[in-house]
Symmetry: C2
Subunit: 259 residues, 2 copies
């Protein structure tokens, strides 16, 4: 089974980029489901297939069903599923694999460790994909699928996957919000965000050769109190001020106890 | 005056990378000062010059004196200075220019917006340098110096520079600590930090084409409570748990009020 037929349940960022990557690698996407007709239609057009907004109508002739929806939404969707013979797979970092157990005995997880936006193409070949499956046969099937688009496929159980997802939230989602805070601060001074780009790029690049612990710089690690106090005073937003103070204290403590 | 003689006061990360960059661009470094003899000696050897650990012995024959020391340390150093005819410049993001006013009438600021580590070479050509000077003549002198190593030189006054420095702390120092937290989480699970590298690289790369606001992903922006609650519960360290909850709430609020 070189090219299994795949149904995609979801049309968000991850679902979109994954469906497009699979389609571009020659897979046949049988159908797209989204509860939002516009999203379903847009993605279906991108991968040359049909769409539905009704779970009972997702069809039953696929080999693999990939569920890429909000964690909160998955249980409600599973309850409405028609009986399916194919492999059921979700893409969530924090959802245990056995959420599928009541509905099938052929299931697994396909978790790509990456940040996805609908409009930005991802190099899937360089994206680690964590896989887990209910049995040997399913694991082989999932590995074949993952290896057809990524060079970094690794089996990871549900417990460790949770921690990988947690680390991803800190190093991607929280990092991005830090970029956004920087953008807000510069915008208030009518300065362009571009100014920070070389610094942001170097900060990401330097941890290829230094550990993040070794790479730490700034007033907090130097315990340069005259800077941290002045900087905290510049922040009017209470939430940002609290984040500033907590991060500064945390960095100082981290380097105090390890030096 | 194509190649002014330069004295470097300080031998930390920034002082080291700046001294080396100037030296490699043909400038003569007259002397290195550091209160730590080892640091002074190491840097002096790198730029083929002498060193001292005594401020009164820094010499008086340079055209430019660059002070790159902890903000807290600068006032004490200035008090010990011998009378100097050259241009006095500091590299601090948050120190007002007029800290030099009691000691000279020829002074300024040379603030490179970058993260520096002693062992990692920086592409100074791509590093924005914010300059400010006490007069027109000094500004020209400083611009010539800055433009000899960087393609992005911009005049910025002390007030706006403070905000640029604040934005840099969020987008570099706090970002790096987020990387470090990710590394700590993976290390506890005996997983290699490398796993996060494609995600970290893509997170930095994507804001070249999307604004950080548009680029935001993750459970907090989706308000996926079942994920954020489970993730917070995984964190045993109270400081990290507080950071997790604050950042999640802050991201949620940011996207609630702007959508």
């Amino acid at each position: 089974m070189d090219h299994p037929r795949i149904t995609i349940i979801g049309a968000g960022n991850l679902a979109t980029r994954l469906a497009v990557a699979l389609y571009e690698h020659g897979f046949c996407i049988s159908r797209i489901y989204s509860r939002t007709a516009d999203s379903a239609k847009t993605l279906a057009a991108m991968v040359d297939t049909d769409y539905t907004t009704e779970i009972p109508h997702i069809g039953t002739d696929s080999d693999i069903y990939i569920f890429s929806v909000k964690d909160d939404a998955l249980p409600g969707i599973l309850k409405q599923l028609p009986p399916l013979k194919g492999l059921l797979v979700h893409t969530g970092g924090s959802i245990p694999m056995d959420i599928f157990a009541p509905y099938s005995d052929s299931y697994g997880v396909f978790y790509p460790l990456q940040t996805f936006s609908k409009t930005r193409k991802i190099d899937f070949a360089e994206t680690p994909v964590c896989i887990e499956a209910s049995g040997e046969k399913e694991l082989k099937q999932l590995a074949a699928l993952a290896e057809s688009i990524s060079r970094h496929v690794l089996p990871v159980n549900s417990d460790r996957r949770k921690y990988i997802h947690l680390a991803a939230v800190f190093t991607c989602n929280f990092v991005n919000r830090m970029y956004d805070i920087g953008a807000e601060i510069l915008q208030q001074q009518q300065l362009p965000f571009d100014l920070l780009q070389p610094l942001i790029d170097e900060t990401a690049a330097k941890i290829h050769s230094l550990s993040p612990f070794e790479a730490q710089t700034g007033p907090a690690v130097r315990y340069d109190r005259s800077v941290t106090e002045k900087q905290s005073a510049l922040l009017n937003d209470e939430s940002l001020k609290t984040i500033y103070e907590l991060m500064s204290k945390n960095i100082h403590q981290r380097h105090l106890s390890n030096r």
